[in-house]
Symmetry: C2
Subunit: 108 residues, 2 copies
């Protein structure tokens, strides 16, 4: 069993980047607390903590749009997670496959 | 000019996911405040806000490992950014190309 406590040294929530394994597309970012990270590791599907609803959230439990985990990595200073998944249906509640659909125009 | 204020409704910092455009590899996550987001948009290179040093941070200014922006997207609820870049050298201060090199083993 891994020591999950190291991911909560800076606070009670850690951001988790969700990336589609087959395409490399970044689908969403959500937050995990200790309990949701533990459930994610136990079940192999993503669980998050909703900051607005203040409750655990099993991604796809209502919509069926679950995320089956392929791999998980922590970053160099243990304050962000990268989770590669097999996404069923759309990741975004808007129906978009990815949540990142609002392009920002700049000078680049 | 885009309205950047909408990205700071929940707080003074917004997480920015940095993804390598050519490979799809997620390189790092860092935080932007209003000033660093404005400088990022103005210059076409990433600027962050360091929570530990409490200062603006032009990624690569010291190491030369700059990130030239290819595209930027906001997510569905305007509280996360996804930035695709051309990465010079390694993104991680450890010398790893990506910060996400610590694999987490689970039952999946």
């Amino acid at each position: 069993m891994i020591d999950i406590e190291k991911y909560f040294k800076k606070g009670d929530l850690i951001p988790a980047i969700i990336q589609e394994e087959s395409t490399g597309e970044v689908l969403m970012l959500a937050y995990m607390n200790r309990e949701s990270l533990a459930k994610t590791l136990q079940t192999g599907y993503t669980w998050f903590y909703s900051r607005s609803r203040r409750e655990l959230w099993n991604k796809g439990a209502t919509s069926g749009h679950v995320q089956k985990i392929v791999s998980m990595h922590g970053d160099c200073d243990d304050d962000t997670l990268l989770i590669k998944v097999i996404q069923t249906g759309a990741a975004c509640h808007t129906g978009n496959h990815s949540c990142f659909f609002n392009e920002i125009k700049g000078e680049f």
